[in-house]
């Protein structure tokens, strides 16, 4: 079981959510965040804007779905550049993947431990 934190452009979040839903990954949490990457925000004239609004998506998936989900997010959240197609632009975001040891469903108090239980079919979260 792995947790994906994806930081993407807000204008692309709906596109990413739809793309994930199309492949059966529907459970996720989204957060409005601000931040900047290695490019230290946007500088317009003398002013530097370092808190750029982004959307963060949090998904927890079984191991076999992670690579699939990362591929969908990274292809869908990429901006399309006319002069450099397929390369994206600065500020398209990042995807982080971390381990999850246990997951509990509060409604049923059910536990799913990492590595135990049947491998989930595509799109089945915890």
């Amino acid at each position: 079981m792995k947790m994906i934190w994806a930081i993407i452009r807000p204008e692309y979040s709906q596109k990413v959510i739809d793309a994930l839903e199309k492949t059966g990954i529907s459970a996720m949490t989204r957060l409005h965040v601000t931040g900047h990457g290695a490019e230290i925000g946007i500088t317009a004239g003398l002013v530097n804007y370092s808190e750029i609004p982004k959307e963060m998506l949090m998904l927890v998936l079984s191991d076999i779905d992670v690579a699939h989900a990362v591929k969908i997010i990274s292809t869908t959240a990429k901006t399309w550049q006319k002069e450099n197609p397929g390369h994206g632009a600065v500020g398209d975001g990042k995807i982080f993947v971390t381990y999850v040891e246990d997951a509990y469903t509060i409604r049923t108090a059910e536990t799913r431990r990492n590595g135990s239980g049947p491998p989930g079919k595509t799109g089945t979260t915890v």
């Binding site: 947790m3 839903e21 459970a27 996720m28 409005h32 949090m58």
Partner: protein, 144 residues
Amino acid sequence: MKKIIAIIRNEKVEETKSALMKIGVNGVTFLHVAGRGLQKGLIPSRLPAGGCPPYIGRHPLRTQDDVPVPGHPASRPTENERESGFLPKRMLIIVANDSDVRPIIDALIATNRTGCHGDGKIFVCPMISAIRVRNGEQGDSALV
């Protein structure tokens, strides 16, 4: 050291706070988030009096049921979010010692369990270290 990420109902937050306080957990971070589960948010996030709502799909009542927390623009779902079934929820982040994880999870489940869809999830992730910003203390002692 473990990081506990719990996603719970908005209306259970106060109850959860006092339940955590009772077992001596004072360091909690709350976030306003929007989310949906395997039901794609097709049920009201707000609990009705008496019994769980059945699977109803999209219906006109839903907009009245999903009352966001007032004064928090982040928790107010946009039209897009309503369309894709994202409901306002609260995310808790607690970093605790390994031995404290079990009581915290028991308390969270006992407080938030209503038996209806939308009660939320708890995730436990490994955490390598913690540092107290005030004095640079590291490891387990930074948590107390």
